[in-house]
Amino acid sequence: MVDTGVALGAALAISVSAISTAWAQSRIGAAGAGTIAENPELTGAVIILEAIPETMVILGFVVAAMILVL
């Protein structure tokens, strides 16, 4: 049975980073949609920019996994 504190820590690690990523992606997505409307040639760059904040949730996931596994 996983300790409550451990479970809570893992849940916090993934949820806070997921919310942060979602917030950042929503801002980038809105700006990116505007950018593409103005200049469709920048589509590739916008897709990459949109993927950048995902590092946060991935690191959050890694931390959560480490809390649970280690």
Binding site: G44, A45, I47, I48, A51, I52, E54, T55, I58, L59, F61, V62, A65, M66, V69, L70
Partner: protein, 640 residues
């Protein structure tokens, strides 16, 4: 890999200038540079070439374009087209102008009249449709309409939301006609009300002026419809529509017959004029003196002999091609052209996400071709998914063989499916855990560690970060090569210092946590001590912050494990949910649907993350970009 370029200068007699340009244009290997800008005025007093033919060609292009747009397109025989092109292209300018004018004279009046007639008939059919609709709307009011001599009958269509305007019209009519009028309103459909007014013709002008000022939609029917019962009018409209359509068909036939006869020549003339225009637009790059003309540009080394030969065949020794000896700075401005093996070619498509490489930079596309499929395979890693992606790629490539971008994408998917199958074999995954549950396949064990991704979470994480270290170090290594190519000592020091500092940090951490032998601790400290001053020398004190950035870059590779784990969990959910549903058919359908969703996600998400790892994490260590693509001075390939 980027193709090796040579800078050349072509010098010839001024009177042969147009022929030299024609030969270069048809050889199609020269990327033009502005010779008047590149050669110093102190070396030679060059004037920029201006041509007197530019306005002529533009005017002819407009004329021919006008005629050709009127005619329906006809399929042309490519060989015949090429033959006519080759004959007409080499005509003297005057003869070409005469030819175009002659064709234009023959066709202009006929096509213009036919086009105008066609357009009139289209308007007529549209107007008849509008009359028919209006009459059908007011037909129910027919019995209430008095047909009186000397009285004006006006039909107004009013949208229901502006119903109030009917009251206003009534008040105004009362004033204008001194209360000598009739006004009938009836609902025609859900949105429209028809109002019919009858009053003495002498008040017509005042009433119409009022109606115009209120922007009310007044229906003015042609005089021939007046005084007839609506049924008769509708029959008349039907007859007139049929006549107009028949006449339009006849005009279309005449246009088609003209197109049959002339389209080939017209399309060839248009193409020639477009090509001539491009040639003329490029004339600003050329220079001349009193007796010579000069053209400067870049030619891929492997086409240099062909270019020189083409000029020598036509002009003998009257035109001289000189290979320029250029400085490193000059070469930095050279255009870039990829020359990659067939397997790397599709990845050039992904390189469009970043600016083209500069000539002296290392071309990252071969590295992309190695690591992109590797990362994709590491993340998806499933034999079943790999086979589906392979099949999907093959089918889509065949189905849409004419779409260049889709073909490149599908080629990438096909290449990526191979490491996906390979890693699927290592992880023991066939549609998630289905293969293992059914006993078809089992995860491979390496040094006693099972490669089952659900069990080996920590080893997979360590593997992902280790790949990150290698990939980032590769980027830093390429950065050193680029810095050496442009002889930038500070960049060399910064990149080398970063490799040393990161290696030091890894050794210190590894030794401190017991993951590496303690004997490596001093080596780590030395590497860090050597690295830090190099970074400060190369990038200033702020360069030290870059160490943390690089550590972040390396940790970002954890996504290789994280995304793969998300994919395998979804696949397991598909199997478990499918198995938990009591009815086999529903269970299998549910599992297929979830696996399909997972495969679609697997094709999209790992591609995006793989490209992101390259562009953000690795390319940022060496890639500058901002080069110019090699665009030779030649006729562009046409797809139509």
């Amino acid at each position: 890999m980027l193709l090796k370029m040579k800078g050349i200068l072509v010098v010839g007699p001024r009177k042969e200038f147009h022929n030299i340009v024609d030969v270069l244009y048809h050889t199609g290997t020269l990327h033009l540079e502005d010779v008047t800008d590149r050669l110093s005025p102190r070396t030679i007093g060059l004037k920029r070439w201006k041509t007197e033919y530019g306005d002529d060609i533009t005017a002819l292009l407009v004329k021919i374009g006008g005629v050709i747009r009127t005619l329906p397109a006809t399929r042309v025989d490519r060989e015949q087209e090429h033959e006519i092109y080759e004959t007409l292209y080499w005509m003297e300018h005057g003869a070409l102008v005469d030819r175009v004018n002659e064709v234009f004279r023959k066709l202009e009046t006929t096509t213009r009249d036919l086009a105008a007639r066609k357009s009139d008939l289209q308007f007529r059919v549209a107007a008849l449709e509008r009359y028919e609709k209006t009459i059908r709307k007011i037909q129910p009011l027919e019995e209430q309409l008095p047909f009186l001599e000397g009285f004006e009958v006006t039909v107004l269509l009013i949208q229901k939301e502006f119903e109030d305007v009917i009251g206003l019209i009534g008040e105004e009519l009362e004033q204008i006609t001194d209360d000598q009028f009739e006004l009938i309103s009836a609902e025609i459909d859900e949105e429209t009300i028809a109002t019919i007014t009858v009053f003495s013709k002498r008040h017509a002008d005042a009433f119409h002026a009022f109606i115009y000022s209120k922007n009310v939609n007044e229906v003015r029917l042609p005089p021939e419809y007046m005084g007839r019962p609506f049924n008769e009018v509708l029959e008349l409209i039907d007859e007139q529509t049929r006549q107009a359509n028949a006449e339009r068909d006849s005009v279309n036939e005449q246009l088609a017959s003209l197109s049959e006869e002339w389209y080939l020549e017209l399309s060839v003339l248009e193409k020639i004029l477009i090509d001539k225009k491009k040639e003329i637009d490029a004339f600003g790059h050329f220079g001349y003196t009193d007796h010579t003309c000069m053209v400067m540009g870049w030619v891929p080394e492997k086409y240099l002999a062909a270019t020189s030969d083409a000029l020598a065949r036509t002009f003998g020794n009257r035109v001289v091609v000189t290979e320029l000896s250029l400085s490193r700075d000059d070469y930095n401005l050279a255009p870039t052209l990829y020359e990659n093996p067939r397997i790397v070619k599709p990845f050039e498509f992904l390189m469009q996400l970043v600016r083209p490489p500069k000539y002296l930079e290392v071309d990252p596309s071969p590295f992309l071709a190695i690591f992109f499929p590797l990362f994709f395979g590491l993340m998806v890693g499933d034999i079943g998914y790999g086979l589906v992606i392979l099949g999907f790629g093959l089918i889509m490539r065949r189905r849409f063989s004419d779409l260049e971008w889709l073909r490149s994408l599908m080629n990438i998917m096909i290449i990526c499916s191979i490491p996906t199958i390979f890693f699927g074999f290592l992880y023991g995954e066939f549609f998630g855990d289905l293969g293992e549950v059914m006993g078809w396949i089992h995860p491979v064990h390496v040094m006693g560690i099972s490669l089952n991704r659900m069990e080996a979470m920590l080893p997979m994480l360590i593997l992902a970060v280790a790949i990150g270290v290698l990939h980032v170090f590769l980027g830093l290594g390429l950065g050193i090569m680029n810095a050496i190519a442009v002889q930038n000592r500070k960049h060399v020091a910064e990149k080398a210092g970063m490799i040393s500092a990161i290696s030091g940090l890894i050794l210190i951490l590894g030794a401190a946590t017991g993951a590496l032998p303690p004997v490596l601790l001093p080596a780590g400290i030395v590497a860090l001590i050597v690295g830090v001053p190099l970074i400060i020398y190369g990038g200033g004190p702020m360069g030290l912050i870059e160490i943390m950035g690089t550590v972040g870059n390396i940790l970002s590779y954890a996504r290789l494990m994280a995304i793969g784990m998300a994919s395998v969990i979804l696949a397991m959910v598909a199997n478990t949910l499918g198995g938990a549903l009591g009815i086999v058919l529903i269970g299998v359908t549910m599992a297929i649907l979830l696996h399909t969703l997972n495969i679609v996600l697997a094709m999209f998400s790992p591609s995006l993350h793989s490209i992101r790892l390259h562009v953000v994490e690795c390319f940022s260590k060496f890639y500058e970009g901002g080069g110019t693509f090699y665009t030779p001075f030649k006729r562009q390939e046409r797809t139509n």
